[in-house]
Symmetry: C2
Subunit: 314 residues, 2 copies
């Protein structure tokens, strides 16, 4: 059953029809390979009762988001699928069908993987992409004087999860941001020639900016009033919601990056060309007392101390 469902998703030469024990990939000359792995476990990374399409979408998007922030083009993936005893045939069918739709949407090939029984369901995905040699965007390279930008809006991933969990007064509008995230892949590939540093916002905005600061040995000033939220996010804050939840929820899969001021017009044009919201939220400055971290400022200039800056993944 599973073989019959997966085989049509692997009609590419590298997969060898999923008949062999390995995939075979001929690297295009002059390209580097970017590899990202994420494992999603039922009850840990998605609700046990989550729809199959949500699980497949998120597994793909978490890895595509890493490629996007590296400026890489998706190539192929291996999927190790732990089939929970709690998943019936219909659910597994929906999961694989949704995964196949995602592969098509992201132009990602299924190269191989493993399917195993598991008391707890999981998807362990390793995604491979190509980037021109030595052109990968990294966390290093932010320069004092650069501006700090973020794509999309922040907090909708967390708000969407609350809605999926059935939280009272949650925002249906935000659900898609959690159940079918759309990392800015086309934008990221064009960002290669503009940004000085980049990463995907997966731990929480301030925690992730701290990573950029540490890798680049700089500090940052972030203007809280400029951080972009959806209407749902604005309504949540207006109703007294915690800023920490929107900034630190960690499920947004957007790109934070730095770029020199003279590239602003090019970034605006790129955002329009790829239908990606791009917002300038601050600037890179020297570290203060050698501390490579980002400071969040209220409009009056006061520092906003967050109770938590984000979830720290390994």
């Amino acid at each position: 059953m599973i073989r019959a469902l997966l085989a049509p998703l692997a009609q590419n030469p590298s997969a060898l029809g999923l008949q062999d024990d390995a995939a075979l990939v001929a690297p295009p000359p002059g390209m580097d390979m970017v590899i990202s792995s994420d494992a999603l476990v039922s009850g840990v990374h998605f609700p046990v009762q989550a729809e199959a399409s949500l699980v497949a979408n998120r597994a793909l998007a978490c890895n595509i988001s890493d490629l996007a922030a590296k400026g890489a083009a998706p190539a192929g993936c291996t999927l190790s699928l732990g089939l929970s005893e709690a998943w019936d045939e219909a659910y597994i069918g929906q999961l694989i069908t949704a995964f196949g739709r995602g592969l098509q949407a992201w132009a990602l090939e299924l190269w191989g993987g493993d399917t195993v029984r598991a008391p707890t369901g999981f998807l362990s995905l390793t995604v491979h992409g190509w980037v021109p040699h030595q052109k990968m965007l990294t966390r290093k390279g932010a320069q004092i004087g650069d501006d700090v930008y973020v794509t999309g809006v922040l907090g909708d991933g967390w708000l969407g999860l609350q809605h999926v969990l059935g939280a009272p007064n949650s925002f249906a509008d935000a659900q898609l941001a959690y159940s079918d995230p759309q990392p800015p892949l086309a934008f990221g590939q064009k960002l290669r020639d503009i940004a000085t540093s980049a990463l995907d916002v997966s731990d929480g905005l301030m925690a992730d900016l701290d990573h950029l600061c540490a890798a680049s040995a700089v500090g940052m000033e972030i203007d809280a009033a400029d951080i972009p939220y959806s209407e749902a996010g604005q309504a949540y804050l207006a109703a007294g919601g915690q800023l920490e939840n929107l900034l630190g929820g960690g499920d947004d899969l957007q790109i934070a990056f730095t770029a020199p001021p003279e590239t602003e017009a090019a970034l605006t044009a790129l955002g329009q060309g790829t239908q990606t919201q791009v917002t300038k939220i601050g600037r890179v400055r020297a570290t203060i007392s050698g501390q490579p971290s980002a400071v969040l400022r209220a409009p009056n200039g006061a520092e906003i101390a967050l109770a938590t800056r984000g979830y720290r993944h390994f």
Copy 2:
């Protein structure tokens, strides 16, 4: 704690210090990449009470075995580690330490991965290797008149598992074949220029030979008396043990392959040079009634029908 244990295992440039969300690999010119993924789940692929070193060894060996049978040289891997609540710090430490020893032994780099909480522990490993362009060994290519060979001995993986499980009258001598399998990696890389087809014996000898037959559209005759067993395996059979268990247990991680008769001396020399036992067990012939499968023959020529030919992985 985990970061501190894993970081020293990833002192290669591709891993970017495990600080980034991705690994970066510059493919050597003229090489194809071979990719193999296996997921091992606690209680499914290894006993819940298994020692940490056994788990790490087997996770690596299952994937290295695929590379060996493809004639590929190990390059690097991503490890998604699902940390069971049942694993204490000491166990996790032993697991990662043993994994690091394995990486060194196989000359495999740790490029990245993910570490997650999981109700059931698992290791999902994706291993990448290099092989000269279009030189990968495949299941296709066995020619009528070729001989059929197997490396090592068969059945010790299954016998070793019985000992780990504490089965009565089990064979301590075979335990290492299960707890620390040694796929014939050096042999496999040299086999590229000799064999016409190859695969690793992971489903069970006869089932795996059927895969070679199907991919190559040939049949095979296998001489049961020539199949190599260890002293433990011979003792098990002499005591009335089931042949199906030795041939179909599926944990041997040896290579079955086909090669023209004129290469026999070269194979013997290669076996000696790489300290790999190599045994001729049969020959490739035309299919009978179009059936591409391997027939097992007793010394008197009678066909031996096995109750099961092997475990069929996805």
